[in-house]
Each structure stands twice: as C-alpha cells, then as structure tokens.
C-alpha cells in the first residue's frame, strides 16, 4: 500500500507542478490536461480507503489552486467560453466530474449560470460513479466545494439563485446517494474480509455525516422545516437501509449535529425510528445519548427548560419499555444503563418528581427479575452500572431523606454484592455528612439504618 501510494503521489506531484506551470503561462487547456491526468490517479482500485484518502487530500489541495486561478480569471473578465462544457469532453468519468465540480463552483461564485441549476446538475451527474469508495470521495468533494455557496434564504433573492429548499434537496440527495454507496461497501469482496471491510467503513463514516453537518449549517432551516422536510427524509434513508453501522452512526450524528430544540420538537418521530432499527444496532446508546443531551439542555444556564407540553419523561419511559420488550437479548447492564439515563433525565428536568425516579427504580427491579438476575458479582459490569444508577439520586438531590421515601431504592440496593453495597451505603452517609443532613424522626432513622444495614450488621 505504501509503495502504491508513493507512486500515485509522485504522479500527482508531477502533474500538479505541470498544471501550475501552464497556469502561470496562461495555457489553460494544457493545465486542464494535466489536472485531468492528476485526477486520473483517483480511478485506482488498488488503494485502501486510508491510502485513497491521502491521495484524495493531496489532489483536492491542488485542485483548489486551479479553482482560485479560474476565479481570478473570471473576476478579471477573462472568462473562458463554455468552460463548463469543455471539461465534459474528458473521456474518463472520474476526472471529468471532479473538473466539472470545480468549474461549476467557479460558475456559481461568478454567477455565470443559475446557481440552483448547477447544484442540481452536479449532484445528479455524480450518479455516474457507482463504485462505493470512489463515489463517496467524489461526493465528499462536491460537498466540500459547495460549502459556502449553498443558497440560504427562504425565498430566491434573484431569479434562479435558489433558496434553502434547493440546498436541502441538494444535500439530502447527496446524503442518500452517499449512504447507499457506504452501505453497499459491505457487499464488496469476499466474505472472509467482512471484518476488514467493516473497519474500513467505520473509517469513512465522516464522509457521510458531513452531509448532516452541512444541513445543520443552513441558518434558514427552522424547526418547522427540520420537522417536515429534513428529518423525515434522513430517517427514511436510515430506517430503510437496514444496515446496523449506518443506522448507529447516522442516528448518533443527528443527535449531535442538530440543535436540542429540534430534537424536542421531533422526539416522537425520532423515537419511532429507533424502534424500527436493525436489532444489531445498540439503540440504548442512541437513546442514552439523546436523553443526556436533552437533560443537559434543560439544566443549562439560560435555557427555558423543557416545554410543559412535551412529556419528555413519558416518551422516553415508553420508548425504553418498548426496547426492553422487543429485545429479549438485552443484557442486564444495558437495561440498567438505560434506566440510569432516564433517572438522570428525571433528576435533571423534573427535580420535584420523586415518583419518576421511583418508577424507574421499580422498572429496573422488575426488569432484572425478568432477566433472572439473582446475584450480582462485585466486579461485574452490571454491578458498576447499578452502582452508577444508585449514586445518581444521592448526587443530584443531595438529600438522603428523599431517598428514604423511594420505595424501590432499597430493594435495588440489596441486589448488590456486599462490598458494593457497603460502598454505596458509605457514599450515602458521606453525602449526608457533607450536606449536614439531619434525620428529624426516629422513623426515618430506622429507615436509614435499614438502608445501610450492611454497614451496621
């Protein structure tokens, strides 16, 4: 791979040098020929994705030089007639499309032809590259080049300048084609190389995710447009691709890339999609990620919190229940980590609702019963997850007396092995000492001592 890459890079450097020399002498046609030769290296089938990426980065750097030259020429009034047509004479499709994208962006920046027509043309013509790796990088080039020229206004400012709807269509089409190619990668090659391909696909995920980033950068996409146009289109691709890797990554990407207000407004759609994902997708991670984000959003300084008409806890509670029901192979630690996230939400957003926390604890208990968990080993993952869950109310309430009112806290604590139980009990008592929590009644003293009996007896 190293040798192949070195050879390719040498060719690129030589052709790039020739290209620049021709540009210096204002010999554009010759420069385009060298550019085409340089881009021809991207037709290779011999490089791994990692090596291909290196090659791609060097070439696209050099193409930037060509773009700047053309921009300069156009802006000085020395526009080359029919350049958009001329570059389409190239016989091989890879160099042709890279050149077309470069020239197309120059045309957009110089208002040569309708911006929306060019964008539409570029994203459609890229269909010609059906090879997954080469197609992904080509479309990534398209996305990078058009980063600052996507129309971002509600209505067209001038005729044919395009509006945010055109940008959305452009990016969504590019995303769906890229996701398709990315998913198709898994079928290339022999089955014995499946793991390697899977790893390679992971390395390329950012190429697909950049589409969602681009959408999030469009200022005139509001909640309404996100809910009615953007999210349904993305979820349609994600759900129907049935590919665990894509689903896992894209769902996570949606959470990270779009604002929390959008997630609040589209919670049901998103959660519905979660329920339809491939069973191999670790949905709990997606849910936990979303719950944590929304919890942080609600508790952030300056935040208006969660609107009262969005029963966030109920939504997530139901969704988690569905997951547990539909995934009989859900591990106990996954079950507990889900409940821990829900507990965090309840404690963060609904601080006064002790019943929410108690409900989560009850569900955890019954879930563990259903899974037949009787004994939890001290150093197990389950033990760690359960300990995290039990410490949450201690940390976030800082009031042991509230804990005493939770009917399902003690039964859950008693499931732990002795050393862990002692650790949690001691944690509780330390919290009381730190906060100067006084126990006012003898009844409460009894409850407390019962709770921490592993330390007493």
């Amino acid at each position: 791979q190293e040798k192949l890459l070195d050879e390719a890079l040498s060719v690129v450097k030589l052709q790039a040098f020739q290209m620049k020399r021709c540009l210096d002498k204002a010999k554009l046609m010759d420069a385009l020929k060298h550019a085409s030769n340089m881009l021809g290296e991207l037709r290779t089938s011999l490089l791994s994705p990692k090596s291909y990426y290196e090659l791609y980065m060097l070439i696209t750097d050099e193409m930037r030089h060509l773009e700047l030259y053309l921009l300069d020429e156009f802006q000085k009034g020395r526009r080359v007639q029919d350049l958009y047509e001329l570059v389409q004479y190239a016989g091989n499709i890879i160099p042709r499309l890279y050149l077309l994208i470069t020239v197309g962006v120059v045309y957009i920046k110089c208002s040569e032809i309708s911006r929306k027509d060019i964008l539409k043309d570029l994203v459609e013509m890229c269909r010609g590259v059906q090879h997954p790796l080469r197609g992904l990088f080509l479309r990534n080039y398209l996305l990078q080049c058009t980063k600052n020229v996507l129309p971002d206004c509600v209505e067209e400012e001038q005729e044919d300048s395009g509006s945010v709807s055109d940008s959305i269509d452009f990016v969504l089409l590019n995303f769906s084609e890229m996701n398709k190619l990315w998913v198709r990668m898994q079928h290339q090659g022999h089955t014995r190389e499946r793991d390697r391909r899977e790893q390679e696909r992971r390395e390329l995920k950012l190429l697909v995710g950049t589409n969602l980033v681009r959408l999030s950068q469009l200022d005139t996409i509001d909640v309404q447009r996100y809910r009615s146009v953007v999210l349904p289109a993305v979820l349609e691709q994600v759900v129907n691709c049935r590919d665990a890797l894509s689903q896992d990554y894209v769902m996570e990407c949606i959470i990270q890339v779009f604002p929390d207000e959008y997630h609040l407004a589209t919670l049901q759609d998103f959660l519905q999609a979660c329920a339809e994902l491939n069973p191999a997708v670790p949905v709990k991670n997606i849910l936990i990620s979303l719950i944590n984000r929304l919890s942080a959003f609600a508790t952030r300084d300056g935040s208006n919190g969660i609107p009262s008409d969005i029963p966030l806890f109920d939504f997530f509670s139901e969704q988690i229940a569905k997951i547990i029901e539909n995934k009989p192979d859900l591990s106990p630690e996954d079950l507990v980590s889900l409940q821990a996230a829900l507990t965090g939400l309840a404690l963060g957003v609904y601080k006064d609702r002790e019943d929410y926390v108690d409900k989560v604890l009850e569900t955890t208990n019954s879930g563990l019963d259903k899974l037949g968990v009787e004994h939890i080993n001290d150093h197990s993952n389950l033990s760690r997850e359960l300990m995290k869950l039990l410490k949450l109310p201690i940390d976030l309430w800082n009031d042991a007396l509230v804990l005493l009112r939770l009917r399902h806290y003690s039964p859950l604590l008693q499931r732990l092995d002795s050393p862990t139980k002692k650790s949690v009990s001691a944690y509780l008592l330390q919290n009381m000492l730190n906060n100067g929590t006084l126990v006012p009644s003898s009844e409460q003293v009894e409850q407390l001592l019962d709770l921490v009996r592993c330390l007493v007896a």
């Binding site: 004479y89 499709i93 459609e124 269909r127 010609g128 590259v129 090879h131 197609g135």
Partner: protein
C-alpha cells in the same frame, strides 16, 4: 527543363470566405475554402511565364469544376458526378503573363467533401493548358459542406435490451438525429443486474461502406470512447449520459452517395464486467451538419 509557366488559381472572396479542414490521404489536415451547394464558384486564373521574355505556345486553356469519388481499391476508375468546363483561352502563343476570369454559376454540389479509409469524395478546380508535348495542369481543392435542417420532431430512441436472467437495461437517447455540435443526452436505467459490472462506456463508431455488392468494403472506426459509469450499479439505478459531439472529428451521415459509398454512425453502449466480458448494444444515429446562424445566404438566381 521544367514547366515553362506557373498557373495560379485565385478564388473570389478568398479573404472573407470561411475555410474548413479536410483530411488528406496521408492523414494530414489542410484548410480549403468552404463552399455550399448552389454557390457560384468564381475567380481568376493567372498564368505566369517563367521566362519574362519567353514565348509559350499552347493549344488552349480551360478550367474544369469537378466533383469526384475515388475508391482506393479501384484507383483506375474515377467517378465524376459533377463536371463542368469553361474555356479560358483559345490556342495561341503567350508572350507575357496572362489572367483569365472564370465563373461557374450556382454549381450543384450535392454531396459533402469526404476523405475516408477506402474512399474519397472531393471537389476541385482544374486548369489545363494543352501543349504539344505535355499539358500544364494545376488543381485547386475546395471543401464542400452539406447542410441539413431536420424538422423539430426528432424522435428519441428508447429501448429495453437484455440477456435473460443476467442483465436488463433500458437505454434512452434524446434524439435519433444529431448535428455535429450537438449533445447526446440520455440515460441508462438498470432493470436487472446479476453480473459484476466494472464500468460502462459509450462509443461513437463510424462505419464506412465503400463499393457495393459482394465487393463492398466495410471499415469500422471507433471515434470516441466515453465512460459514463464507474463501478457496479444495482437495480433501479439511473445513469445519466451527456456526450458532446463537438469534441470529436465527425462527418455527417452519408447514405449511398452516388451509389458508391455510405458513412454511417452508431452509438455503441458497452458494459464491461469484472472478468472483462463485454456486453454491448449498438444503435444507429443520424448525424447532420446544421447551418451556422451567421452563414451568408446562398446566392439565388
């Protein structure tokens, strides 16, 4: 020794008349004045004596306008489809340089100039000074283009082809007749894909058929190879085609020219699989030369 005079043929309007490239038999290209059907071919013939005080006796000077088809495999036979002659000078003696005007009015030039693999169609002026021992001859080639204007209704080509259980595609080209600077706009839609395709290309193939009957010579030449797809599609994929013909050296379609030859064009859609097997579908298209908007109108009677 050597010719006693030089003959020059100067065409009227040569400073303003457009020129066009013609391929010579040796493959080189040269530019010649461009004429169209019905245009008058006129000019002047200059006879320049080598020796300024010499005498040149001749039996007449004439100029011919000839349109001719040469079949390379039948060199002895030249097929003149246009032949016109004008007498420039009667037999006499030239004691000084002479100049003669000539005019072939509204000459019919029914076919386009063409140089191919086995046949050539040319138009030229030939000045002959008949002398006792050997004639002085001078030729001047001209280039002729034929223009066509097809009706707006130019049907598209749309067809489904396939190999059972293996590969089914629907291809579509936006027209069946293209002018030489046209764009082939089309698409390939995959209905069934059970082979591992590596890539797909469109070739523009020129077929020259020289002669007729069992002696006819077919010569195929691939003028263009244009890759339209890289990689393997799946069912339902639609691949766009946009092929600019102005990038290639093409002539108009020529059908049964003077019953001597034809030049036809085909679009060859080729799919290549991982094992280098090729699947192809050839489709004839008509190419024609469209008038430039700026062209001067043909002189009328």
């Amino acid at each position: 020794f050597g010719p006693s005079a030089e003959i020059e043929i100067l065409l009227d309007g040569s400073d303003t008349r457009k020129t066009a490239e013609l391929k010579l038999e040796d493959g080189r290209k040269e530019r010649f004045p461009l004429y169209y059907d019905g245009e008058t071919v006129s000019g002047k013939v200059n006879v320049v004596l080598k020796k300024s005080n010499g005498k040149l006796e001749h039996q007449g000077i004439k100029i011919e306008f000839i349109g001719q088809i040469d079949l390379y495999f039948d060199r002895g036979n030249r097929h003149e489809f246009v032949s016109m002659v004008r007498e420039l000078a009667r037999p006499g003696i030239l004691t000084q340089n002479a100049s003669y005007n000539f005019e072939f009015v509204n000459v019919e030039k029914p076919y386009e100039s063409y140089t191919g693999s086995n046949v050539k169609l040319r138009y030229y002026l030939r000045v002959s000074m008949v002398k006792r021992l050997s004639d002085l001859v001078k030729e001047q080639e001209i280039c002729v283009h034929t223009l066509a204007q097809y009706p707006d209704l130019n049907s598209s080509i749309k067809m489904e082809v396939g190999i059972e259980d293996c590969l089914h595609i629907e291809f579509e080209y936006n027209k069946s007749k293209y002018h030489l600077k046209d764009v082939i706009v089309g698409k390939i839609y995959f209905l069934l894909v059970r082979i591992k395709i590596k890539h797909m290309e469109i070739q523009v193939i020129k077929r020259e058929i020289a002669g007729s009957g069992p002696n006819a010579l077919n010569e195929n030449e691939t003028l263009a190879k244009f890759e339209i797809m890289d990689g393997a599609p799946v069912r339902g994929e639609s691949i766009p085609i946009r092929l600019f013909l102005s990038g290639y050296d093409l002539t108009p379609t020529m059908r049964d020219i003077n019953k001597k030859f034809s030049v036809k064009y085909y679009l060859n859609l080729v799919l290549v699989d991982e094992e280098e097997r090729r699947y192809f579908k050839q489709q004839e298209v008509t190419l024609f030369r469209k008038a430039d908007k700026k062209r001067r109108p043909i002189a009328s009677n």
